[in-house]
Symmetry: C2
Subunit: 227 residues, 2 copies
């Protein structure tokens, strides 16, 4: 859900973290909220599963289309850079200089690089993509895998807090089991994901529990007020 | 919800798009799903509002903490780069070379840049942050504003599909108004956001409607199956 640029770890781990962050939080909070307003676990399960379906599709399909859009955007910008290098060489050379100007370099200092690029139009285009436009080359076929991993992690995270409602018919009683288990799971998840985000582990665990707890408390208060 | 790197437009516009993408989709889909299983609009409203509370807090507070974590991570990495430039100058010079090696440049071609950096350790560190580590300088005080804009947009987007349920007591009848109005709103939103994502406008509108429609249909089918 959040833009995690400072992420150490593979793309798949990142997708699991993205899907599970929301999956463990929102369906849990919704179920907790409804337990404050509805007596039967049955209705909480219905709403919880509907949320898991909606959330996983919104994240998975939405993410798939966004990634496809990014890949197309990258391809069209790369095309444009290549054309500019061919047809508007002088302007493109100025643009190389502008990239380095920010760092206090003079035209003379940048000149050897421009000269090298003249012989390597392909690498020049790659360079402009990253250094002028800030675009990273998207991994081929990444969109589908990423969408499935995010959606799957959301489903796994989202079903977990609902399990007690399947076992205990009275919603308020099921809530205590669900809240206990989910807050522990959020803590463990926060602890584990700290390895990839660079946040101190204990603080990451506390944060993750706090977000889940706050979301559940707000949902509970609102559902009770309106029921 | 999705990582939108290829985004043209201000940070605030981006936050509105992020919050509203999910806000217009998930609470709508949940309400639609429950309308297939529950007769009274009243319960749909309770669940919908609980979802809006949970989702906006998960996105807002979660986003706030993630942004704070990124800012801290940036500051600590910048510290490290500065220390390395001071204490491990030779290794750091090798690293500048490695950044350019990928683009086919020789050590001799990169040398003028390394020489210029020797006199400008501050700009050298900024360069390493962006081009070695791929980290952008986070805007000061951005986290709080970003969190509020995302959460607020989620609330606005999420309340919209619930309005018909306040006005029409029978859930299935309220659903037809909600679905009609929300699918139109999703289309308009998809059309409008295309200005910033680079996707063709019509295709962006169709995509946004499709994601919302698919999420609602899945939630509806699941809720009906389990009720």
């Amino acid at each position: 859900m959040h833009i995690e640029r400072h992420f150490h770890g593979g793309a798949t781990v990142r997708d699991v973290v993205i899907g599970m962050s929301d999956g463990l939080t929102v369906p849990f909070a919704l179920a907790a909220g409804l337990s404050g307003a509805i007596a039967q676990s049955h209705l909480v399960i219905t709403a919880g599963l509907a949320e898991v379906a909606a959330g996983s599709i919104a994240m998975g399909l939405g993410g798939y289309l966004a990634a496809r859009g990014e890949a197309e955007h990258y391809a069209s910008e790369l095309d444009r850079e290549r054309r500019e290098i061919k047809d508007l060489r002088e302007r493109e050379e100025d643009e190389v200089f502008e990239v380095f100007e920010v760092y206090g370099l003079t035209r003379a200092q940048v000149m050897p690089i421009i000269e090298a690029f003249r012989e390597r139009p392909e690498q020049w285009a790659d360079f402009m993509m990253r250094f002028e436009l800030g675009l990273e080359k998207p991994e081929q076929g990444r969109a589908l895998k990423s969408a499935l991993v995010i959606a799957g992690s959301y489903v796994v995270g989202g079903i977990f807090p609902l399990v007690p409602y399947f076992l205990v018919g009275e919603a308020q009683r099921a809530l205590s089991f669900s809240a206990g288990a989910t807050l522990v799971a959020l803590g463990v998840f926060g602890w584990a994901k700290a390895r990839f985000t660079g946040t101190p582990r204990m603080w990451s665990a506390v944060q993750t529990v706090l977000v889940g707890g706050a979301a559940a408390a707000a949902a509970f208060a609102l559902a009770r007020a309106f029921s």
